[in-house]
Symmetry: D2
Subunit: 444 residues, 4 copies
């Protein structure tokens, strides 16, 4: 690990002195290589993290697009600064100009999670590299294969030796050493509550954290229920719910609850369960611990009176949890607040929109949320009232398109993401002030 950091430290200054267009050119090459070698990477995703084959292929290709987009975005954001004149401020003469630009952090530690080991790695690598940083990458234990293949594409693209360094291992063992290393100048982490521990230790190191989510869907009386049901089911059960932006709670107004539950239940009943190679909708969760955790949450809710819908039942086979929708979930159940990261969707019926918003705002997790309403005033005002990083109006929570802002409130995150904000995170602002002996103006 010391070797990785040492190599990064040595390689960084030369890379930061490479023209922006050349940095972009190498990133475009890496993207092209990833498109060319998508198949083995996708296969690794199927094998390592049980991602349905089609989604695995999509992840790789979408990652290549993301690298290219990031390169071009960086060329612009990093090639432009601000020039401030002194005489805006009362009493000051126009004899000073401050030129503010963005400079690299130095060496950035990138830690992506198991559920998108390729995509969430390049969402860190791309911004770090275009901004002139060196990188130490710690892939997730499951997903490391896909991640390493991706790094091989970068290597083949011709990035300088030592610029991108990969260290594998269990976070529990090497995490502290990596995050507390004296040569680390920035950390970009996506994952769960482990992030809270990292944040405690990092002190003066800039942090970009995307941790858990408990994304709620508020369904209003005037919602298009078919649209809402479709978005909720897709949002909750894609990749078996193992997504930070999965719909993890439905808050539906009493008056339309029966109708919505019926529509949701009917759709969930049709989901296929099986192997990722067969593109089953629901596949095995990433670990026995995860599956048992989800099972426990559902069992707690059932014990406290939640009702399974559409004939669905709680069923675990090894790591595989069958899809389950639980109606009449109440705030005393763990499922009302905790993040299952599995195919179990709780529905809470609420008497008023205010009650729904209050539930959302009481959650310590606040990544995204969504509201389904056809009324323009209601939709926008509920979106304002919901205290989450993003609120989707009439759509499921989603990370993309990747240039959109992506940022969680409270325990869900620190520092913004999205292509532009991530590039900015990977830099610090520097200013050069030119002092003249007297005021100077261009008079037109």
């Amino acid at each position: 690990m010391d070797a990785a950091y040492d190599a990064a430290k040595v390689a960084q200054p030369g890379w930061a002195q490479t023209p922006l267009w050349k940095r972009a050119e190498l990133l475009h090459k890496a993207a092209a290589l990833m498109r060319e070698h998508a198949a083995p990477m996708a296969a690794a995703l199927v094998a390592e993290v049980a991602k349905p084959a089609k989604d695995a292929a999509t992840e790789v290709l979408r990652s290549a697009d993301l690298i290219s987009f990031t390169a071009e975005e960086g060329v612009r954001r990093l090639g432009e600064g601000r020039a401030l004149l002194a005489d805006s401020f009362p009493g000051a003469a126009r004899s000073k100009m401050s030129i503010e630009t963005r400079v690299p952090l130095g060496v950035v530690l990138c830690v992506p999670p198991f559920n998108y080991p390729v995509n969430l790695a390049v969402s860190k690598l791309g911004p770090a590299l275009i901004a002139g940083n060196a990188v130490v990458l710690k892939p997730p234990t499951q997903g490391a294969g896909a991640c390493l293949h991706m790094v091989a594409c970068f290597a083949a693209a011709g990035f300088p030796a030592g610029l991108i360094n990969t260290v594998t291992g269990r976070g529990a063992e090497i995490g502290d050493f990596m995050t507390l290393h004296p040569k680390v100048n920035g950390i970009s982490f996506t994952g769960g509550d482990t992030g809270l521990e990292i944040a405690k230790k990092a002190a003066m190191i800039p942090l970009q954290m995307e941790l858990g989510g408990k994304d709620c869907a508020i369904v209003c009386e005037d919602a298009d229920l078919d649209l809402a049901a479709a978005a909720i089911v897709k949002g909750a059960f894609s990749y078996s719910g193992q997504r930070c932006t999965a719909v993890k709670l439905v808050l539906v107004l009493d008056t339309v609850a029966d109708a919505l539950v019926a529509k949701v239940g009917a759709k969930v009943a049709k989901l296929t369960v099986g192997a990722p190679e067969d593109n089953a909708d629901i596949t095995a969760l990433v670990s026995p611990a995860s599956a048992k955790f989800v099972e426990g949450l559902a069992a707690d809710a059932l014990a406290k009176g939640a009702l399974p819908v559409a004939g669905l039942t709680l069923k675990r086979e090894g790591n595989l949890i069958h899809p389950l929708v639980l109606d009449r979930v109440t705030p005393d159940m763990r499922l009302a607040w905790e993040e299952p990261f599995g195919p179990v969707l709780p529905i809470v019926r609420v008497p008023t929109v205010d009650a729904a918003v209050a539930h959302v705002n009481a959650s310590r997790l606040a990544l995204q949320g969504c509201v389904f309403s056809s009324h323009i005033d209601r939709a926008l005002m509920i979106a304002d009232a919901m205290s989450t990083g993003t609120v989707q109006i009439n759509g499921a929570p989603a990370r993309g398109p990747d240039h959109f802002l992506f940022a969680g409130f409270r325990d869900s995150g620190l520092s913004s993401q999205g292509v532009g904000p991530s590039i900015e995170f990977m830099t610090k602002q520097k200013s050069v002030v030119i002092n003249l002996p007297s005021a100077s103006y261009a008079t037109g």
Copy 2:
């Protein structure tokens, strides 16, 4: 007139070399003096252009706010430039930096119209002055008194001699001389089709034109009809319709037309007609020619089968036109396309939203428009489809708040307005490129 331009040319460079905060300070002083001396200015507006007393007072105070806001906006927009690095572009080395700032145009001719002689004067003077320009102001013939009083406040605030110059006279006589003057470096004009003539003559002089409007209100089946009726009546009849952003045509869906017409008619029937000193809703128009023009438009529509609503009738007493709503206006009537600038509101019934949008987009005037619909998708998609500078969703067209963009398409305007865009209009961009002997980077 030559003297005005000569004085302006002489005064400008020194003003452009005055610190931004000092320019702002003087504008704040002028605003304070306008607040202090609001009464005589408002009285002039009542006397000269028959503006209801309350509205006249509002115009003056709103103008003072606008001056202050413009000063602070300018301090920021003009105190900041961009610094571009060369190596964003393929093949270029980071050995060049381009520093782009905004510099004054020089001498700007400002021509406000009669209907807001104070407000639309300061909306030009403020941006011109904070940006370092000298000004030649040509007030409207009616409204010149209020305008001159306003200029007196600027003079009392301590602006340098020669910086603000006022030339009164009929546009027909002095217009050409003023717009073609070799010392003019920019023209900001608000008015009617006269602007089209100015545009033909101005050649290389930057133009900010706000000309006529024929703002349409589309009322959908799912609109809140009470809200729509209230907005339409206020929008159409305030200051007797003598506003560029007045609602000048209603396009209502057949299915809700009867209901809307009834609501609009009921409200219009209650409008008071009389003297501006008494705050009557409807007062005399600015000139006999205007009143006769409006009368002619209405007569044409009536002759072709338009129906007056709510027992209202076409009635002209000198310059005073009584309020009139005409239902079942059709595209063969002049009122469907021409701008009355008086208290006559035509209503066209349409079978579909597409028909309504097509009417809007066929108009040569395209300042603002509005759509009334409660459905979020419909409202936004109609707003996209309407080809006008601004589309108001569920509100009447409006110039303000003044920091919002204000810009007309087609014959309605050239160059954007609003506080920020107006400040930018009053400047040109200049760049200074520093060439270094070799590439230079800040590496972090």
Copy 3:
């Protein structure tokens, strides 16, 4: 010509409804095809406008880069708008939000000049197309071949039929018809004083004009004279001086004039004269009229006492003018003010920097200028004092890198160029204001 405009008008809306990334994709394809077919285009440039072969090849490749860069810039500038809240303005409630975006102008007439018929065509086509416009292109009479070949690359890339339309012919014959056509919604013109005529006729049509230049180089006492001489000679004689950003006048401080003149003369004496195929530095000018005009300017200066340096003499052979540097040029000579667009460089000796700046600022042409000084204060303060669109410090005037601002003052131009400003020119601003029934805030 009507057919071209009609086709453009029909094709435009569909193109404007094409996703930004797809528009960019087609532009990238056109750029790739231009790189692939660079040879015949370069050959046409050699044959049609006597451009040295190496420069001709560079023009084509640089144009391909420009298209790609423009595509990516447009994806960003046009995919982002501003959302303004009402309560910034005194008295307003946060119940309105104005969403401002950029929409296409419609049909844009693009008129590039003979000297860069490919590059200055794509500098207009690229921004126009990425912004969703249709285009009518009028290539220069000389250079039309290269231009048509370039258009063929666009056609082969798969742009929709009718989107890009080319009309060839003499400007004197078809110019008025084209610029006054009722379907034109914007004009981007690069050329000489013809542009002033277009500007007079265009009325309400947005104009982007780049007309003549008389770029001056001020050489201070503390300048690096070798650097200055090298930049001046390259700046003045590249492509035989047929460049808007050519150095067209040197203003040198008396104390260093002899030294500078000697260095400049020595370099110019080494320039080769001959055929473009052989990469001669100096080749035939574009027309007999041009050559005679240049000859006349030089003869006037010689008659009034200007001194040829380094044994150079005024010599015209057909369209070919031999390179000439004239020392001791004075303000009474035409060469002190007029733009030769040929290989003749006048040098004016000045007693002070102020005199040099005064000469620059008295010129009606004000595209770029440059100042050579090693002292940071002096260089920056002279750059402020020079009233030209761009001032280069310690470098020759230059259009590129293409993302830098490019804009002339006075008779040199109207509206800014450069990749970003050109994209903005090709659009107009539109706002959609959402009105809510009451204030709404996100409280954190």
Copy 4:
């Protein structure tokens, strides 16, 4: 303390729902009250922290200006968001729009230091309040009186009860409780290494830290030595060196070292030593511990061979340290690296610019730096090479003008300051994504 946080939590949402212009209005009132009551606040600064009387008055007035400037800046930065369209990203349809705005953090803990207890308090309070936050303020033990007086001005201005809460006490006793409080949502701290401890504890709480500085002045061979000496002496000895941006080390090229040292020594010899009421240049340091620390640093240097210049000697009288310049300081001395925060200036002679830059970049503190050189290339390239948050060219390090970026690298800081960046720090980004059923475009 709990009461303070509770009150803040209760008051914040209502404040965040107050129109921006009203928040600004209250800040302007507070500023006006501070100008009115400047005298007692300045007197407190003299008495509490021995600030020279004139500087104390300046601090208060400059703080009032800062509050006003911050209010107007916030009105603009917080009243504007970005609207991103989906179709910028490959594959996406324009059926989504993301509207990104800034929302308050919630409750912000503000901790200013003793040296500018008023100015560095309002530099936190202003941005926090305009952004809609509630505040808990912990004044420095010395300076609390001035700070409380300032808070009284805010209270008198009419801010809601509970919005601004002040808690006094020793940081050592109450610091942990305050920074770890569950209701804190952001911390803005200015001070010394205590900040490093806070950073370790804060975990997911956004931090704005300005800690120590060791600002170096590089003096090149071609520097204007009079200018450099004047800036260095003012920079090093103002307020007896108790400023984060004081010049704390001079790195002078050997060839001009003698000349510079002579000029610096001559100026320092003229500094007056005495009481703050008498506007003495050098006054007592803030505490016995500080004075002894400074004495120790100087003694260490003297013991290792540093040479006092101009007949100055190391002399401590209680808290008072007489001004001292030490020549021939070497890297083995503590003074070469540690921050004295007192009137002792070390000078290191260097053989090359590279050696000077290397010293700067080896320091763990990296707030500002400055370079004195008249040569434009050298000055700019050294500024790039110096790895500090800000580099001043030909001027002393300085925090202001306050709208300029102010940010330290490495142990000197986290998150940027300056009016704009501080307002941004006091907010988090939120997005609302509107999903439409199909793509929608404005076609122009």
